[in-house]
């Protein structure tokens, strides 16, 4: 018979689940759990400076490792501060277990100090959530939380634990086994055979890869399918890296800021093979006009994604890797010379224009200079905005999990804490966080966490002293009525970094910006690399909101 408190039980179960790093912030209602955590010999706690930072640190770890990671927050404001990071994990299908303290059971519903119904609040943004009512329930709830977070389409799970439950003694015979994911649904073999026949019969097929390929670890299989069946391959924002960008079959990212050629090739396709993607509006533009002449094969682990936006001719519910494995031997090797040479001519005629790509003081040039100074082992995180799209367009991604970005929710403030998480998960890698001045200020307090942990994170700040994408949209679509998108104050980010104890390099004043950049990237430890970017640089080409993907503006 074993006996321990609820808090000790949580820590034991996390240890057994293989959790080695937890990000969080303590507070009154979660102090018993922190007390128990202080006795753990295997779990290291990383003290964030804002709970949203803790949530994104956990996400950064999970995006790199592919397994559920954990964050802690106290009740009330601690818990509500986690909400954005949880919603972000939900939209990008990131496995995460958030554990929050709650006021004691008897005080729930009394408007007690720092009481908030985080269970109710997180119903629509979690895969599932729990309000634990006894310490004994933890024996089931904690493994269940991990099982749910990692089974099928991954996602966030919240476990709300009242303070008295953390303190309650519980006796039990044995600890439960660590959670493992549920087996994936066995794919429909007839549908797979039908898909193979459609691929063989198609004349202008396109392979469309989404984040599901990353989650399923199927990038190698996806590339094999493309090569075997001669499929030009586009990737969503979430899937960048699943096929190396310089692979001859890669046609790059599709959608709002994809290349013109990519959207033109899709327009001409007669078969779209959608693998682990979800026809997001930023990717496909006006749904009815996306690939108007194409039949659709849709593979997804989540049955509710099939037929959600576009009705598929063949829909296959299953794990992407398992489906591709079954599909590959049935697909005929085809060279598809005519279609591929047409694709190549479209690629040559309508590439993304990258003015200034050789000048590290321009936005594209800076992205290229960073890439030139690093190899594929580096991890690239971004915040959200113009810089994010420029990096997505210009950085040569060549492997899965090389690229961490907030896609579905588009959360400014994601970058720095996610990069910290990535560096915690894989400390031997260089982690670069491209950010903009708007995003950077949204979780700038995590510079303190970064300095304390001394992680190898390089923040490349593209500073145009404005909310660049808002300024761009107002300039293009709101009659140049620029409002609330230009900052009047201009903080000195170099001094801010210095104040946090982080080295800083200013490319604006460097005699040789390329050399200064390379040196900053190659020396170990955190560093801020600052570069001013003109506010008049816009992200092009662009599909105007609500338009079809072929109606792009700009070069």
């Amino acid at each position: 018979m074993m006996q321990m408190t609820g808090a000790e039980l949580i820590v034991r179960l996390l240890e057994r689940q293989g959790i080695r790093t937890i990000a969080g912030i303590p507070g009154g209602a979660i102090l018993p759990l922190y007390d128990a955590l202080s006795g753990s010999e295997t779990i290291r706690h990383v003290l964030a400076r804002h709970e949203q930072g803790a949530g994104f640190i956990a996400q950064g770890m999970a995006r790199v490792s592919g397994r559920p990671e954990v964050c802690f927050a106290s009740s009330g404001p601690g818990a509500t501060n986690l909400v954005t990071a949880i919603a972000d994990a939900r939209l990008d299908s990131i496995p995460m277990v958030a554990i929050t303290g709650q006021v004691p059971l008897a005080m729930i519903g009394t408007d007690a100090f720092q009481e908030v119904d985080i269970y109710g609040m997180t119903v629509p943004i979690t895969k599932h959530n729990f309000l634990v009512r006894s310490a004994a329930e933890l024996l089931e709830v904690i493994p269940q939380a991990f099982r749910i977070a990692m089974s099928g389409r991954p996602g966030p799970v919240l476990v709300d634990v009242p303070k008295d439950v953390q303190n309650q003694l519980v006796s039990f015979e044995a600890l439960p086994e660590p959670a493992v994911p549920d087996p994936a649904p066995s794919p429909d073999l007839e549908a797979i055979a039908a898909a193979a026949r459609m691929i063989d019969a198609a004349e202008r097929p396109v392979l469309y890869l989404g984040g599901g390929v990353v989650h399923s670890g199927a990038s190698g299989l996806a590339v094999s399918l493309a090569e075997q069946a001669g499929l030009p391959t586009t990737m969503t924002l979430m899937a960048l890296g699943t096929m190396p960008v310089d692979h001859p079959l890669s046609i790059g990212m599709l959608g709002m800021h994809g290349a013109r050629c990519t959207n033109f090739i899709l327009e001409e396709s007669d078969l779209l093979i959608c693998v682990g993607a979800r026809f997001d509006d930023r990717a496909i533009g006006k749904a009815a006009q996306f690939c108007p002449n194409a039949k659709i094969i849709h593979v997804d682990i989540d049955p509710s994604e099939l037929h959600k936006i576009r009705t598929a001719h063949v829909a296959i519910n299953g794990d992407v890797a398992a489906v591709l494995e079954a599909l590959l031997p049935q697909v005929k090797p085809i060279l598809r010379k005519r279609w591929l040479s047409h694709v190549d001519s479209l690629k040559a005629r309508f590439p993304i224009a990258m003015p200034g790509r050789d000048d590290p003081r321009t936005h594209y040039g800076l992205v290229h200079a960073v890439a030139a100074a690093l190899d594929d082992e580096a991890i690239i995180a971004t915040d959200v905005g113009q810089h994010q799209m420029w990096v997505a367009q210009a950085y040569p991604f060549r492997r899965s999990r090389q690229w961490l970005t907030s896609g579905g929710l588009g959360t400014m403030g994601f970058g720095v804490p996610a990069a910290i998480g990535a560096a915690l998960a894989e400390p031997e890698r260089t982690v670069v966080c491209f950010t903009g001045d708007g995003s950077f200020k949204m979780n700038i307090q995590e510079l303190a966490t970064l300095a304390e942990e001394g992680l190898n994170v390089k923040i490349v700040l593209m500073n145009n002293n404005s909310l660049g994408l808002v300024y761009q949209q107002q300039s293009l679509f709101y009659g140049k009525r620029v409002f609330a998108s230009r900052y009047r104050g201009e903080p000195d980010f170099l001094k801010i970094a210095e104040g946090f104890g982080i080295a800083a390099v200013d490319l604006d004043t460097a005699a040789n910006p390329r050399a200064a950049l390379a040196q900053a990237l190659q020396s170990r430890g955190p560093c801020l690399i600052h570069a001013s970017i003109s506010r008049e640089e816009f992200v092009y080409p662009m599909v105007p909101p609500g338009a079809a993907n072929t109606e792009m503006i700009g070069d």
Binding site: Y119, H128, N129, L131, D302, P303, S304, K308, P545, A547
Partner: protein, 104 residues
Amino acid sequence: MIEQVAEPLQQQGFAKVVLELEVNNHPGVMSHICNLFARRAFNVEGILCMPMADASRSRIWLLVFEDQRLEQMVLQVEKLVDVLSVRRHGAEHEVFERLEKFFL
């Protein structure tokens, strides 16, 4: 150019259906289900919930319109961890008919 605003969803003129859900019986299950319908502005015309003989489970009856979003709604309901099964019946199912006399 501004993103289009969706047309108001039409519900009148659609047939009604009865959904029969078997769910885990604990506080919070109803909120997961109602939340799902509410945030999609999918009107639930009638709702009935009782524990089953085995008290660890409940049965929920929902009366809804069969509009074009129903398929997606059912798929979303099936994804809820506490929902064990979903069955679909026609509007002629007697469960709500027999209740009607309490609402006269």
